[in-house]
Symmetry: none
Subunit: 232 residues, 2 copies
């Protein structure tokens, strides 16, 4: 579960945001003063920080600078909240290291939506991955090939999903193990070979060869070119 820290002096707004964050299932921590803000962040290790710029006791920009300077916090996304709408204010905020900037008054749902973008990572998750005849449905955990469903095991599915999510990109066995088996894996890298084989047996027999490309000395990649009728 993602944890969010909120620094906002206005009590009403503080409560409103807190209520909505918790309703969305985020862990919450917050402060209505800027004084202990940095300590709070260090202690809580949030996944995202919402920061009001205009605080009675300190400047939100300074707090942001402090966050960026702190090695453990520097990578945490910061969303600025402010009433200042002037051009220079916005630019300064964004260039200072904020990841987003929302001008008051704003819609709470928009704030939530923007928060979720940051957790989506670089790429928004597509629900259905397509490559020619091959379709992978993330929500249903199903794979179809030309209308025909293909039965995959959980590990096979995750492996295919990961490969299809970045078609063409070559991944080492190491990377695949991290992504599919998890960081705390206790698995030989040869295991990847076996699963690649199993995927190939289930998919290539129907769809033709080379769906998964072996790159000798490097690893494997999903070959979007190989799919018949693929929208390359």
């Amino acid at each position: 579960m993602k944890k969010i820290v909120l620094i906002e002096d206005d009590s009403d707004l503080f409560a409103l945001i807190r209520y909505n964050l918790e309703k969305e299932g985020f862990a919450f921590a917050g402060s209505q003063t800027g004084k202990g803000a940095l300590e709070l962040c260090r202690r809580e290790r949030p996944d995202l920080i919402i920061l009001d710029i205009m605080l009675p006791d300190s400047d939100g920009l300074d707090i942001c600078k402090g966050i960026r300077a702190h090695p453990e916090l520097s990578h945490v996304p910061v969303i600025f909240l402010t009433a200042r709408a002037s051009e220079t204010d916005r630019i300064v905020g964004l260039e200072l290291g904020a990841n987003d900037y929302i001008v008051k008054p704003f819609f709470v749902r928009e704030l939530i939506a923007r928060i979720k973008i940051h957790f989506r990572g670089q790429a928004p998750t597509t629900k259905i991955l397509k490559a020619g005849e091959l379709e992978l449905d993330r929500t249903r955990c199903q794979v179809h090939l030309g209308g025909q469903e293909i039965a995959l095991t959980a590990t096979e599915f995750r492996l295919l999903e990961f490969l299809m999510s970045r078609p063409g990109v070559v991944f080492s066995r190491e990377q695949l193990l991290d992504a599919v088996w998890g960081h705390d894996r206790a698995v030989t890298d040869r295991t990847v070979d076996v699963y690649i084989l199993r995927l190939r047996q289930k998919i290539e027999t129907v769809a033709g060869p080379d769906f998964i490309r072996s790159v000798r000395g490097f690893g494997y990649s999903f070959n979007s070119e190989a799919a018949p009728g693929v929208v390359a």
Copy 2:
């Protein structure tokens, strides 16, 4: 250099944004209609897409859906541009897969700042090395020469990658061994000669001579001058 695609029907705004993007050093491509927008993106492979939602001939939301459904484009950040400021419009845009949402009228400098946020924290090394007809794709572990793929072994690839990463610079065999074979190598320096030869055989036969320059008494260097129409 990052490439940005802009889809915007308003001529004045189109020109304004284009001017500012190019001034900032971004590569630019764009269209003032929504019709060929997806084609354009597929062709240009941009690093970021700026998309007007209200287009005379098509809906920006549909284009965004198309982008997200396309395996090669689905990870590209999309920034929406729109005059609609209502809450639902914003939410729909953001939840549909947009990474950011800017309401007109806006400050150009803010747009630029928001674009830069998306590129922040990415690996400084370019993913594709180009020299004229020759293209080396680091993520795909592939080398193309005038559209034609060239099959290289892992060692050949790493050697070429290293040479191309610093075109014109002369490296001693010693340095090449350290960089490509690793510090704990147990390899004769003459081995480098053999790999240089193999690269030349695979590349120069198609592309003309002198891609890799021998510098007697010193070592080898990638010759960016030799490539016709080199960008280096």
